[in-house]
């Protein structure tokens, strides 16, 4: 009986998918209206003077469509909170205490440790560069923050210990999110600007990119450290 109803549900799903695809195709094929590119013209015509960004992408995500950025930042923060509060390890937090120092330090590959140790400062430098130049060159807060997080993770490869306080980073992320919401609300939506010039806009851009970069950095490192030190089997580091 159960298998029968399973089959009906299966057929129903297929029928729904086919109907949905047919509707989509019908709408798509019947859509014959030809538009110009008003949106593209609006975004690319005069973005330097309007937003102070040399990079059209930065102009879009920090000024024209800053609303999207707010929700993206919210999404990352919610997933970090999810990882911390809803994750499987939360039930077993007492079982997964911080690891002892030096326990598995010696078992790490010497080659990897030394090479990463050399590359590590340059990765941080690159991340900061990409954040600071987000409005001029490709990149921006998210990319730079991801690169900074990669630097922190490579630090874990060199010296896998746990001397970060995740609670402080988590709090820092929430405060940064508050500022990320506050800054565009004041500057873009309410137009509280010291001066309507390119320089002022650029300061706003750099400030926003820095905030976003730090927030992404703390979010990704929380997720990573959480996974590394709390999740998984309890014989984690034995077979390293």
């Amino acid at each position: 009986m159960a298998r029968q109803s399973n089959r009906y549900i299966h057929i129903l799903r297929i029928v729904l998918a086919v109907v949905g695809a047919a509707v989509m195709l019908f709408v798509y094929l019947n859509h014959s209206e030809k538009l110009n590119t008003p949106l593209m013209d609006f975004f690319t015509d005069d973005f330097l003077a309007q937003t102070g960004a040399d990079n059209a992408v930065a102009a879009i995500y920090l000024n024209y469509r800053v609303f999207d950025t707010l929700f993206e930042a919210l999404m990352l923060m919610v997933s970090v909170m999810e990882v911390i509060n809803v994750s499987w390890a939360n039930k077993h937090a007492d079982r997964y205490q911080f690891e002892e120092d030096d326990m598995y330090y010696k078992n790490n590959s010497e080659l990897v440790a030394r090479m990463v140790g050399i590359v590590y400062p340059f990765v941080i430098l690159l991340g900061l560069y990409i954040i600071a130049n987000g409005h001029v060159s490709p990149g921006g807060g998210f990319q730079g923050g991801a690169i900074l997080a990669t630097a922190l993770i490579s630090r874990y490869l060199v010296y896998p210990n746990f001397d970060l306080d995740l609670h402080i980073i988590e709090k820092m992320e929430k405060i940064l999110f508050l500022f990320i919401v506050l800054t565009p609300v004041l500057y873009v939506f309410m137009q509280i600007q010291p001066d309507n010039t390119v320089i002022s806009h650029q300061v706003y851009m750099v400030f926003m990119n820095t905030l976003i970069g730090l927030k992404v950095f703390s979010g990704l490192s929380i997720i990573f450290y959480r996974f590394v030190f709390y999740e998984g089997a309890d014989n984690t580091f034995i077979d390293r």
């Binding site: 298998r3 490709p138 993770i153 990704l220 077979d239």
Partner: protein, 187 residues
Amino acid sequence: MFETIILITLVVIACFAVFSDNMRRSIIYLGVFSLAMALAYLYYNAPDVAIAEAAIGVGLSTVMYLVALKKVSVYDICYVNENIEQFNDDHIGSIMDSFVRPMELFLERTEEVEPQISYTNHPALEVLADENHDCILHRDGDLIYIYGDANDRIFQDIIANLNTIIPDMKDVRVVFKKEVSLNGQAE
């Protein structure tokens, strides 16, 4: 030309990642795939996306996958039924509700290991001798034999809780692996 090379490379590396036998190798191929993907984004004039792809695809997710791979503990169960010529969904479905699903749930909830189940119709003794499964379910007529290692902590737990896992267990026999090899030689 350049476009064609990049796109073909992407497909080839993706195939490598999917069909490679070794998980760790797959992860490295995935990193290479991300790198090629970043190149493709760069070719299509999306340097922003390329940077994000390079940072996240190559850096973060590769390390994350490697760490996760180290942490997953898989419990490998093999179901043997010699009397079936070719396994199909009906055969698997017939034991699914009574046997496999409760076992999987027990392994996931109580033991917190990842169950992995394979099905075969090879002779049970051959499977026991050649393949390295954590636990083997062997169906012989009405009886189900459960083979496992007596020193395995998870197997001990399964045996201890067998009456809660499987409601109807009068047809179930438990065999420890060392006894089996002796029996096999004796036969």
